[in-house]
């Protein structure tokens, strides 16, 4: 089971794809894990056309090995937690530059979430298990 602040990389299906071979890869930051459940914040890379957007509930981080495992400027969505149930995440999924984020960043993400509408999305267990071979089903 993951620890708070740890960061993994997961593959998901590309929606509406006619091929199961088209996948999308995101980093996920573990907000908390307990019992059979992990909750994550999802990360996406910042693009030039949304560079100047200031959105509440979003935290931008530039690569900084003292703070995060990112190779590219990254936006962390703190408006939504992505909830995963019944999946055991292997350590091989942890990011390699560093396996987690720093305490200060983690606290900031929690604050942003607390001030948001606290939306929850459910991750597709079967899709995760199918596309990420080092994950296993957790009973």
């Amino acid at each position: 089971m993951l620890n708070n602040k740890q960061v993994i990389t997961l593959l998901s299906p590309w929606p509406n794809s006619s091929s199961p071979l088209t996948k999308i890869r995101h980093m996920y930051i573990c907000k908390e894990s307990h019992d059979n459940t992990c909750e994550f914040f999802i990360c996406t890379h910042i693009s030039p056309d949304n560079l100047n957007e200031i959105q509440s509930g979003m935290v931008d981080e530039f690569p900084d090995v003292t703070r995060n495992p990112f190779r590219r400027p990254t936006r962390i969505n703190c408006r939504i937690v992505h909830k995963s149930t019944g999946v055991d995440y292997d350590a091989s999924l942890l990011t390699t530059i560093r396996p987690d984020i720093c305490d200060e960043l983690y606290e900031r993400l929690l604050q942003e979430y607390d001030h948001s509408f606290k939306l929850v999305a459910v991750l597709d267990t079967e899709a995760i298990l199918a596309l990420n071979p080092t994950t296993t089903r957790r009973i």
Binding site: S19, T22, P48, D49
Partner: protein, 220 residues
């Protein structure tokens, strides 16, 4: 008769020699010139914004626009001559600006230039339809330098040499050059489908990894 300066002709000549596709897109030529000067101003303090005007789609070097639009052949020949004469250009800056304009749509490039104070200062007049508004170098603010630094940070050093750009519909895919060697018809079909079904979820540029089984991974 041409109205662009030798400096502008040299830059346009560089773009034509190194990225002809971008050169022949009038808007991308303009954004290349603007970003080149914005990068020079931010990192060297010597940006040349002479002749810059404000229009709806962002800053425009109007003399270059006029030469490109109304005297294309003469302009095209002249810029090649000027470039080949060895006019001094900051090569790294030009390569970066060229790569950036080749990785985004025209609308995205316009939107980015709208972030800049040097343009926003005149936004009301531009939107009111006033023509030929001069954009002043003194309006290139510290905030503009910050935007420029952040934009450059999105394109790491050497990216121009390590990634290919593939443009399908409104998406610009970045594929690492060694990985690009395995591009197959199956990969191409997958990229076409991604471009077809994107619906605004992915923003340019889109980093892609080609998998040997014919699959594609979008690095979002």
């Amino acid at each position: 008769m041409l109205y662009s300066t030798e400096h502008q002709q040299a830059l346009a000549g560089w773009l034509k020699a190194n990225n002809e596709k971008a050169f022949n897109n009038s808007l991308k030529l303009q954004k290349f010139l603007f970003f080149y000067e914005a990068f020079c101003e931010t990192f060297y303090g010597d940006g040349d914004f002479n002749g810059l005007r404000g229009y709806e789609k962002g800053p425009v070097f109007s003399a270059v626009y006029g030469d490109f639009t109304y005297d294309y052949e003469e302009f095209s020949d002249k810029i090649t001559i000027v470039f080949n004469e060895g006019y001094s250009i900051k090569e790294d800056i030009a390569k970066k600006a060229s790569f950036i304009v080749s990785s985004l749509t025209n609308d995205e490039l316009s939107n980015i230039t709208h972030f800049y104070d040097i343009w926003k200062k005149q936004e009301s007049a531009i939107n009111a339809g006033v023509k030929n508004i001069t954009l002043d170098k003194t309006d290139f603010t510290g905030a503009d330098k910050k935007i420029t630094s952040q934009l450059v940070a999105l394109y790491p050093d050497g990216i121009e040499d390590t990634y290919n750009i593939v443009n399908i519909k409104d998406l610009y895919f970045l594929i690492e050059k060694n990985n690009y060697k395995i591009l197959s018809d199956q990969h191409k079909d997958a990229l076409e489908e991604i471009a077809e079904t994107n619906n605004g979820y992915l923003h340019n540029p889109v980093y892609i990894e080609l998998v040997s089984d014919g699959g594609v991974i979008i690095d979002a």
